[in-house]
Symmetry: C2
Subunit: 138 residues, 2 copies
């Protein structure tokens, strides 16, 4: 499909697609038959773009995602590196999710505090870390 269709389906801008392509995250090839220089993207590019969104939400950089999407394909034998890399990323994402969970709790406590005692909505923030046994410190 052409870039506009892909952009619409994946709900990203054409420019974003081109940006990702420049960074090796997705690929296309020129429509040789048509000879107009237009690029053709495979159907699964939609899926790829959605995975990229998820990866970004998980806090990974474009560079990381490129490694995962691309370098993994080119496993010549350094699967050790790939495994280690994946393990590191998995840990990172887990850590980030735990932090996000803590923050979500805080937001919710703040919201309820605000609903029940509007005069000091900051109490939840002030007592952050108390009341939830989740925090694993250092």
């Amino acid at each position: 499909m052409r870039i506009g269709e892909l952009a619409k389906k994946a709900e990203v801008s054409r420019d974003t697609i081109r940006f990702y392509e420049r960074h090796g995250l997705i690929h296309s090839d020129v429509d040789a038959a048509a000879g107009n220089g237009y690029r053709i993207y495979p159907e699964d590019a939609v899926l790829t773009l959605e995975v990229i969104k998820d990866a970004q939400a998980a806090g990974l950089s474009i560079a990381d995602i490129t490694l995962i999407m691309g370098q993994l394909a080119a496993q010549t034998a350094e699967d050790f590196d790939a495994q280690a890399f994946l393990d590191r990323k998995i840990e990172e994402v887990n850590a980030r999710m735990q932090a996000a969970r803590r923050f979500l709790d805080l937001l919710e406590r703040t919201k309820h505090a605000l609903a029940h005692a509007p005069q000091d909505g900051l109490d939840a923030l002030k007592e952050a870390g108390a009341g939830n046994g989740n925090r694993t410190r250092n």
Copy 2:
């Protein structure tokens, strides 16, 4: 405490603390007694910095965090706005966590695929979205 101590305790750089302060995320006042222009930070700034880290991991921008940390304190009566704002942020964080969870699954499947059949570690990526009933599309 002074900036260096805070930086050490919260494990961020002095410059980061100053950056946050310029953006209204944390506050200090000049040590009037000493008269040397040094700034003094309250003890709970350590906690504040940790909350900021969590919030960032949850995907919030400095501007958002500033709103939550600061504007909430100044509830003059527009608690409606504050509630709505919190609700929006809570939803955002939830969405991001779900995305992160999806991506984490993908990473783990990729890892196992790589361990068991090194010749095509990309299979997990290719079948992304299949096999996990989590995805709520559009």
